[in-house]
């Protein structure tokens, strides 16, 4: 009788059933799509982070960046190139000078490598490795011969006879200058600890990767894209901080359409020595013993290293910028609230229609009570009808939601994202600056250095096609919402029906 009555009621009140089911369907479809897209965005963020932090990194430890001190040219400062009067080679009145510097980037913070031992000493830390992020900046310039017009002076003084003669030399033959500045990112890492960290998220393209025997050796592994743009190949040499390194391999990022975390990878000890950052590191990559330990390990690390910034993958996800960040914000804000609003509206519609149905059926329920139906049986009947309406809406919602997800996956919108590490924007590629000064009397004064703002750069912009996954949990959530909505409406409607006194119910219509 329960199912016969239920079936007849739902079939006999098609309009009400359709309205409740459609309301629930739209809400459930929206929840499914938002949930799935959120999952896809999260996975895209993980992909971006993986290209920077490597596979298996649960936590990163960095020092908060501090502004460089005035006039500081070393750690964290701007690269400064100094040439003495006899620097460079002079041909036909033009002096060519070149200098390469390896240093921590502008605003970068390094900290003592003892922090790595501290990290390794924390409970539930399965593995950890340290890196040193550097920027190699090369200055190349052509200037007029410094001493061509005077006896030991770099430039003729105003008002002297020498001023009357037109300037000569330089790249334009008229005393002008030209220079360019080229930079690329260099990551010093422990070659024996490549299980986690940036090199774990790369695939060997050519040659070999770094290994434990490379400690102290002037060998480098290049990002394949950078190698191509710099016209370098395995077996070639690359000038890093004025030292020749042998290119032993090239790597590509595991993430599609993405460069790896750095242009060049060299052994950590060599990087420290060349950059003058002996005993210093800029990041520690940490792997927890299990995913459930991450929060505790983070707390322990923060306690052990109070001055450091300890970030989990979840924290790092917020550092992903670009359209991926916009999508994430859209899903987590607008999507979430829109889903909730539609869900609440659908629940309210279901509840109101159920209550309205109970009110309309007052005589029916009064009659059933009069012939001996118990309150429990009537509540069960109302709840059963609402539950089935919710489930119909759920099935419809799942179908609409799945169609929506399939459409999203067919369109596969491309999202780009870049992640920042240790307070630095890693987006971009190898940088380069060039410029020229020209004109009468132009040129750099001998013995004076050049400085300029060099952005800390490393290749980490990733383009990811959004893939919204269809998971069992998403379907389970949809079914759960359908059941919840149906039961909620049924419980409220049933409660109202149970409160009907049979005499009043019959009197109210009689």
């Amino acid at each position: 009788m329960f199912f016969t009555y239920l079936r007849r009621e739902l079939a006999g009140r098609r309009r009400q059933t359709a309205i409740i089911a459609i309301g629930m369907a739209l809400a459930i479809a929206l929840v499914i799509i938002v949930n799935s897209v959120a999952s896809g965005v999260k996975s895209a963020q993980a992909s971006v982070l993986e290209s920077v932090y490597g596979v298996g990194t649960d936590i990163t430890v960095a020092q908060s960046p501090t502004p460089p001190e005035e006039g500081e040219g070393g750690q964290g400062g701007r690269p400064r190139f100094e040439f003495d009067a006899g620097a460079g080679t002079t041909t036909d009145g033009t002096t060519e000078i070149s200098q390469s510097r390896l240093m921590a980037g502008f605003g970068a913070s390094t900290f003592d490598e003892e922090a790595l031992d501290t990290v390794l000493g924390v409970d539930d830390v399965a593995a950890a490795s340290a890196t040193l992020s550097l920027t190699n900046t090369t200055f190349n310039g052509e200037m007029p011969q410094f001493q061509q017009n005077g006896e030991g002076t770099a430039q003729a003084a105003p008002g002297t006879d020498a001023q009357a003669e037109p300037p000569q030399g330089g790249p334009d033959g008229a005393g002008g200058s030209a220079f360019d500045v080229d930079s690329f990112s260099v990551l010093g890492l422990d070659p024996s600890a490549d299980a986690i960290g940036p090199l774990s998220a790369v695939t060997l393209a050519e040659g070999r990767t770094l290994d434990a025997d490379d400690a102290g050796a002037n060998v480098a592994v290049l990002d394949a894209d950078y190698a191509t743009s710099a016209e370098l190949a395995v077996g070639d040499t690359i000038d890093i901080g004025g030292t020749e390194f042998e290119v032993v391999g090239t790597v590509t990022s595991n993430a599609a359409d993405s460069a790896s975390a750095s242009n060049v990878y060299i052994p950590l000890d060599v990087a420290q020595t060349l950059s003058g950052e002996e005993g210093m590191i800029s990041n520690v990559y940490v792997q927890a013993a299990s995913s459930t330990d991450i929060a505790q390990v983070q707390a322990d690390l923060e306690a052990a290293l109070p001055d450091a910034t300890v970030s989990t993958q979840e924290d790092l996800a917020s550092s992903v910028s670009g359209s991926l960040s916009t999508a994430s914000a859209l899903v987590s804000n607008l999507g979430l609230w829109l889903s909730l609003a539609v869900l609440v509206a659908a629940f309210l519609i279901a509840i109101l229609f159920t209550i309205s149905g109970v009110t309309r059926r007052t005589r029916e329920f009064g009659t059933l009570k009069a012939i001996g139906w118990s309150d429990r049986r009537i509540v069960g009947q109302v709840a059963g009808e609402s539950l089935v309406q919710g489930l119909i809406g759920g099935a419809l919602g799942i179908a609409i939601g799945l169609i929506g997800i399939v459409v999203i996956n067919l369109v596969a919108p491309t999202l780009s994202g870049s992640a920042s590490s240790g307070g630095f924007d890693l987006a971009g590629g190898q940088g380069g600056q060039g410029g020229a000064t020209g004109g009468e009397g132009g040129g750099a004064q001998g013995g004076r250095g050049f400085g300029g703002p060099m952005a800390q750069t490393a290749a980490a912009t990733t383009e990811v096609a959004l893939n919204a996954p269809i998971t069992v949990s998403v379907i389970a959530i949809a079914v759960g919402i359908a059941v919840l909505g149906g039961l909620l409406a049924g419980a409220i409607g049933g409660w109202r029906a149970s409160r009907l006194r049979p005499a009043e119910a019959l009197r109210s219509v009689g």
Binding site: T4, Y5, E9, G12, E364, T367, G372, W373, L506
Partner: protein
């Protein structure tokens, strides 16, 4: 069968108190055919609801056999209604989405009768009111007289001791009214039912062996 002692029912209607029943003392023997008449608002329907266990008195007692309906919990009252009391209403009160057969079966639902027995007994009940060929029809596909016959079949299918009818022919024409009254008389004779009918219609009341008049909450014999 029924014993009513000092039965009083008052309720609030806006700001005034309505005395629907005033100290009613009444005994109805098993198998009696009783007609209750009186003006509108005199307390006829309230008395019928008390007899059917649909409402509770404000004071006094009402017993059916050994069971005191005035003190009984709701769940127990529902069981009494399910087993011992059949109702027939003026407006038929059939479930509009269920067929005639299914409407009759609803009366057996609370008794825990098996599906097969339910179908068999409902079919027999419909046959006893001459509607065997209308079992699969919805109420909207039946005439007023046919709907009331379905309602009678629903009231009788559980073989109750009492049949309470509230203006059972009030919505029917004279010819149909007589058909329904003939059916009720026949069933009462055959099954030994106690039949209590509330009616405005003197033709209906004349068929009863006992006629009560209720006015302003007070019951008198006629």
């Amino acid at each position: 069968m029924y014993t009513l002692t000092k039965l009083t029912k008052t309720y609030r209607q806006g700001n005034r108190t309505v005395h629907a029943l005033k100290n009613v003392d009444l005994t109805i023997a098993a198998g009696q055919h009783v007609a209750i008449q009186g003006p509108t608002g005199g307390g006829k329907s309230t008395l019928l609801q008390m007899l059917g266990g649909l409402d509770r008195p404000t004071s006094g007692t009402i017993t059916i056999g050994a069971d005191d309906l005035s003190q009984m919990p709701d769940a127990r009252l529902a069981k009494i209604r399910a087993r011992e009391i059949g109702f027939v209403f003026q407006g038929f009160n059939l479930i509009p989405t269920l067929t005639a057969q299914e409407n009759v079966e609803t009366a057996l639902e609370p008794l825990g009768v098996t599906v097969e027995q339910r179908a068999k007994r409902a079919t027999a009940a419909l046959a006893s009111v001459g509607l065997a060929d209308r079992a699969g029809h919805l109420p909207s596909e039946l005439s007023g007289g046919q709907q009331q016959r379905v309602a009678i079949a629903r009231a009788l299918v559980k073989e109750p001791d009492v049949l309470l009818a509230d203006e059972p022919t009030g919505a029917l024409d004279e010819e149909t009214r007589d058909e329904i009254l003939d059916i009720l008389d026949g069933l009462r004779r055959d099954r030994g039912l106690t039949l209590i009918v509330v009616t405005h219609d003197s033709a209906v009341a004349r068929r009863a062996e006992r006629r009560l008049h209720i006015k302003a909450g007070t019951v008198t014999e006629r």
